[in-house]
């Protein structure tokens, strides 16, 4: 049985931390921020790995593999393009 109350607790606290941290993000960097959070929320990759790699029926694992592909694409392109954009921000 999953302890949903503690999950909810974690969710609420994480949201408040997120609001606090994001509010301080430089306005200059909103575009890279969005690609960075894209990459981070592709943490869905851990769910996809379980569905793809565990001993489940093949149709289920096919769904998992597609999800894994989509999440990996986000991680790879998200981090790379964020770094590419951030490199361009120079003081002088």
């Amino acid at each position: 049985m999953i302890d949903y109350w503690s999950m909810l607790f974690v969710f609420v606290l994480a949201t408040f931390i997120g609001l606090g941290v994001i509010r301080r993000v430089s306005r200059l960097l909103y575009t890279p921020l969005m690609s960075l959070t894209n990459a981070i929320s592709a943490i869905a990759v851990v769910g996809s790995i379980v569905v793809t790699g565990a001993d489940f029926p093949t149709p289920i694992r096919v769904l998992g593999a597609v999800a894994l592909f989509a999440s990996t694409t986000n991680i790879v392109s998200g981090f790379l393009i964020t770094d590419r954009m951030l490199k361009m921000f120079k003081k002088q």
Binding site: L36, N38, I43, A54
Partner: protein
């Protein structure tokens, strides 16, 4: 043991993700944030992969490999295409959540449905509705931003649109409640698939009435949904790391949406259900004034003699790919001792921060990029305000014209500058279909033409004259 590794990895990865976002508060530390994010991700993936229940490693390698093959080219798109890349990645995020939710339901159903408690089913239903509507909604947004031919660019509206949209969502949620209560009845699997279909449909319907100028807000909202679908996945899989990372993404999307809405003086519901683009052109009040055109020579002279020039970029600069010409102009003017600043409106462009990235790409130092709130106090001292492809964000009608669709929207006070030069592609009104009275002000001179070409002419004029100094 491996369980403890997974728990520890989740804690470490969460901390790294928070640091990653924290370092985005300054361009100087921001790249460190990317490193922290990458390490957090590697830790999380590694700790999941070594779990004993993972047995099909070949499949994982294949899927990850395919992700790299698509992901690397996607990270190299031109910066003008960043909004559509971002929308596409929201689509992928939504798809992953939707598919994992679907897989979890059918797994539970195959095992007899004992795992599918009402609580867990509610999380699965939330995951697939959010995931799949984000998927199609973001694909539509991608198509609109990429200007794909068969997706209409202009907002598409029809009578009863909101009733239809809300109706589709209500039916999906109602079916979701039924399936959550009876997860393993004879009809449940079909009802589940119907929810998937309705969510996919809702995503399309949601984006159809939305026009280009609303894209910054819509992308932010979809960002938030993609994060929330990851949170729902965390609830389904009993994984706190998914919940924390998804919540960070969700709150980021939420804050950006609020900022974008405020910058347009509109509410969420108004953006999603208001169909901004269809507002009838406001009746022109008073007598029609005429534009005054300025020559390139005259404009160059004005710029050269100024002490403070404020350049106001808009989506037109992105369309014309004019940011590099803007830089050349910036160089020519700063060389002559002119102070040049850039006034950045929060919703200029097609996504939050769009203008900053384009100007940074053109090697303009970020210290010259000034937010609307800060630049407005400098505008009365500004000798020349140069508007490059911006329109609604400098329209003074936003201050007082109550019948105007942009009424109340905070604007950059270009009209308060001593002289205004506006580069405009055509003589047609802007996105909102309203005349911009900035263009007919006494101190405004127009430069008609493609932004890149006009700026090129200005730079040539300035370099040609510089030989005499």
């Amino acid at each position: 043991m491996t369980h403890a590794i997974a728990q520890l990895a989740a804690v470490v990865a969460t901390a790294l993700f928070i640091f990653s976002l924290y370092w985005m508060n300054d361009p100087k530390t921001a790249r460190r944030g990317v490193t922290a994010g990458v390490i957090g991700m590697l830790v999380a993936v590694g700790a999941t992969w070594v779990q004993p229940e993972i047995v099909h490693h070949g499949w994982i390698v294949l899927a990850i490999g395919a992700g790299f093959i698509v992901g690397v080219p996607l990270s190299r798109v031109p910066l003008t295409a960043v909004p559509q890349r971002t929308a596409l990645s929201h689509a992928f995020g939504g798809l992953a959540a939707g598919l994992v939710g679907t897989a979890e339901y059918f797994l539970g159903l195959g095992a007899g449905g004992a795992d599918l408690t009402a609580f867990r089913m509610s999380a699965i239903v939330a995951e697939i509705i959010l995931g799949f509507l984000t998927f199609t909604g973001s694909l539509m947004a991608t198509g609109k931003l990429q200007e794909v031919r068969w997706i209409p660019q202009r907002p598409v509206t029809y009578p009863g649109q909101n009733v239809v949209n809300i109706g589709v969502l209500v039916i999906a949620v109602a079916l979701g409640v039924l399936v959550a209560v009876h997860p393993a009845a004879a009809w449940s699997a079909r009802a589940f698939l119907a929810i998937v279909g309705l969510a996919l449909l809702f995503g399309v319907l949601l984006i159809i009435p939305i026009g280009g100028a609303d894209m910054p807000t819509v992308i932010s909202i979809l960002n938030s949904y993609a994060g929330l679908s990851a949170v729902a996945m965390g609830f389904v899989l009993d994984n706190k790391l998914l919940v924390t990372a998804g919540a960070l993404d969700g709150s980021s999307g939420l804050i950006l949406s609020i900022i974008m809405c405020r910058a347009m003086n509109r509410s969420f519901t108004n953006v999603l259900f208001g169909a901004f683009g269809t507002v009838k052109a406001a009746a022109v009040t008073g007598e029609q004034k005429a534009w005054k055109e300025e020559t390139v020579e005259g404009a160059a002279q004005l710029l050269e003699q100024a002490r403070l020039v404020v350049i106001i970029p808009g989506y037109g600069m992105a369309v014309a790919q004019a940011q590099h010409k803007v830089r050349e102009l910036y160089d020519q003017l700063t060389k002559r001792g002119v102070t040049v600043k850039f006034a950045i409106h929060p919703v200029a462009g097609r996504m939050p921060g769009h203008m900053n990235v384009l100007l940074a790409e053109a090697d303009i130092p970020y210290t010259a990029l000034v937010e609307m709130d800060e630049i407005n106090s400098d505008m009365p001292q500004c000798d020349v305000a140069l508007v490059v492809g911006a329109n609604d964000v400098v329209n003074p009608a936003a201050r007082y014209a109550k019948d105007s669709p942009i009424y109340g929207m905070p604007i950059i006070d270009a009209d308060k500058a001593r002289t205004v030069l506006a580069i405009k592609r055509s003589k047609k009104p802007g996105f909102a279909g309203i005349d911009n009275e900035l263009y007919v002000q006494d101190n405004t001179w127009m430069l008609f033409g493609d932004a890149k070409a006009v700026l090129g002419d200005l730079v040539r004029q300035l370099t040609g004259g510089s030989g005499l100094h």
